[in-house]
Symmetry: C2
Subunit: 338 residues, 2 copies
């Protein structure tokens, strides 16, 4: 493999000069520049990322730290980031976290030597220590779906989303509305489900309905657990006529149960989800559209912005939420209105 000194020799200049043309910095005459460029292409020279990273104290790439990369909403966001960065030459490195140790480990990297030029952190809350180490290292991550002071972020108003979803159900005439969400997460501190539930309560209250705790169920995130929870709700003496699930994955679990119980949706039971992941469209699931892919795209732009002008001036961008009405919601059964 050709190195920078090979190029320098061939072009008859010093390595400094080659470095300068590679990075477009410093002054170099058009003639010299051309000679160097020729030498580079003749030797098919490619700078070594490791060698370049050492003095610059950061690697030419952007890392995405994302919990549970297999779940559909994570996938959509990662896709957005990858696509947003496609026009640049930054490789994207995916750091999956499924256990708290992973988080520790990956954040450690961001605050230290690996220090990628840019980073996106999805749904995770670094500790104060970790944030301090980011600042110290000059890492300037963009947060998606997290509220972190002094850093850039792209987010939605989950509480308002929960409100919208519930309001939709209320407007259809429902009075007994169940909620299925994530169990309070002590490991990672995810907040979205909690906020969505708050919005749900807001909407009930605004409509003069009391938020009966026995209509709320939480559990491990997932289709099966959600089905479990839905079964409990439907076994109630006065079961809800509609269920708001705080993610589409969970809504699908509810749909599973409806089918298994012979309930027709939406005639016997209305279901609304949250996120609008790809399968929601196929299933005709009414849901709150959450621009996941776009959030990745925006995060990518912010990352580039931070890389290009350092200093970490934080920018926040909020994305809009919108109810997408499909076929899983409708008016409640007639006799239920008593």
């Amino acid at each position: 493999m050709a190195t920078i000194v090979d190029v320098a020799k061939r072009a008859g200049v010093a390595v400094t000069t080659v470095s300068r043309v590679m990075n477009n910095k410093g002054q170099v005459s058009e003639e010299t520049r051309q000679r160097v460029l020729d030498a580079i292409s003749e030797l098919a020279y490619r700078p070594s990322p490791a060698a370049r990273g050492l003095p610059r104290r950061r690697l030419h790439m952007v890392s995405v730290v994302v919990p549970f990369v297999t779940n559909p909403s994570a996938v959509a966001r990662v896709q957005g980031v990858v696509h947003g960065l496609r026009s640049t030459d930054y490789p994207v490195s995916i750091l999956d976290v499924e256990r708290p140790e992973h988080q520790e480990e990956h954040f450690g990297l961001l605050g230290s030597g690996l220090r990628p030029e840019g980073a996106v952190i999805v749904s995770l809350h670094p500790s104060e220590n970790q944030l301090a180490s980011f600042r110290a290292a000059g890492t300037c991550p963009v947060f998606i779906d997290t509220d972190v002071a002094d850093f850039s972020r792209v987010f939605v108003d989950d509480r308002h989303g929960g409100f919208l979803a519930t309001q939709h159900l209320i407007q259809l005439g429902h009075r007994r509305i169940g909620f299925i969400g994530d169990k309070e997460d002590e490991r990672f501190g995810f907040t979205s489900s909690r906020l969505r539930r708050r919005g749900y309560r807001d909407a009930l209250q605004a409509a003069g309905l009391d938020a009966a705790a026995h209509f709320e169920r939480t559990g491990e995130h997932g289709r099966d657990t959600s089905a479990e929870l839905a079964r409990e709700l439907l076994a109630l003496p006065e079961p809800p006529t509609a269920i708001f699930a705080s993610s589409d994955t969970q809504a699908i679990g509810v749909l599973d149960v409806a089918k298994e119980a012979g309930l027709q949706v939406p005639r016997d039971l209305s279901v609304i989800g949250f996120d609008d992941i790809e399968v929601a469209g196929f299933l005709g699931l009414t849901t709150v559209r959450h621009p996941l892919y776009e959030s990745g795209l925006i995060a990518a732009d912010l990352v580039i912005e931070h890389i290009e002008n350092p200093g970490c001036t934080p920018r926040s961008v909020e994305q809009d939420l919108e109810v997408i009405v499909r076929v899983t919601t409708g008016p409640p059964p007639a006799q239920s209105s008593n």
Copy 2:
């Protein structure tokens, strides 16, 4: 940030020794080792990947180069790789290729200084030059869905898969069977659709049916293009009673057209896809199950194996294909048998 010399000082040893305990190589007395370990944790030392990569001439990570990372089958494979590597501490870096230049660029990295410790290449054919540069650099990529001599790969028998799909249709009684696949790809040289079509022809021939070229349509990969093609097929004077689409995405396009034309599936038209991506299950699409996620898992294992014992002894693993019968295929309409 603490460096290796800080650790060495604190432990009262030479950097060499610290390096040795970090990498578990060379002999270090238990006592010294413990002192170093203590110093490491007291200083929260983390080696810099760039610095470590420089002398070793490779970066501690594995790269996945994958075309069109947004399409569902690519996603499933990447997930498999990420998950397969989760138990190791290798970051996974995703190199998306959407244009031939990207391929050039990413393969350039693999053969040179970035040289990740491991690599998996999906569906892409490096040129002879590029392969040579891999060998020279000692990169030992694992190929998924590509036939490359002297390298490890995980693959399926696409031709047989095409055969199975078509055979399924024939066994149901279909005689006029359409095929929708990818246009011959001159940019990346993808082969799977072509092979699946060959299997389709094999099956027709084996059943004594002639493979009528006017029942075959190819176009840009995608749901919409596929719909276009399906419309052509269905507009034929004697339209096919069943269509084999060489991917689920394309099968979904066919389903779109069936709905739009008021055709009931499978009463009026049978549709079979290929891949069994996630939405196939939701749609009840009959398809050929292609273990995409598992292919990523296996590739991850192979990569680790190659990293642990260098030398690049190639291993091939073939995955089985299987028809998953759901609700989009059935016997042909009665009058069609003439």
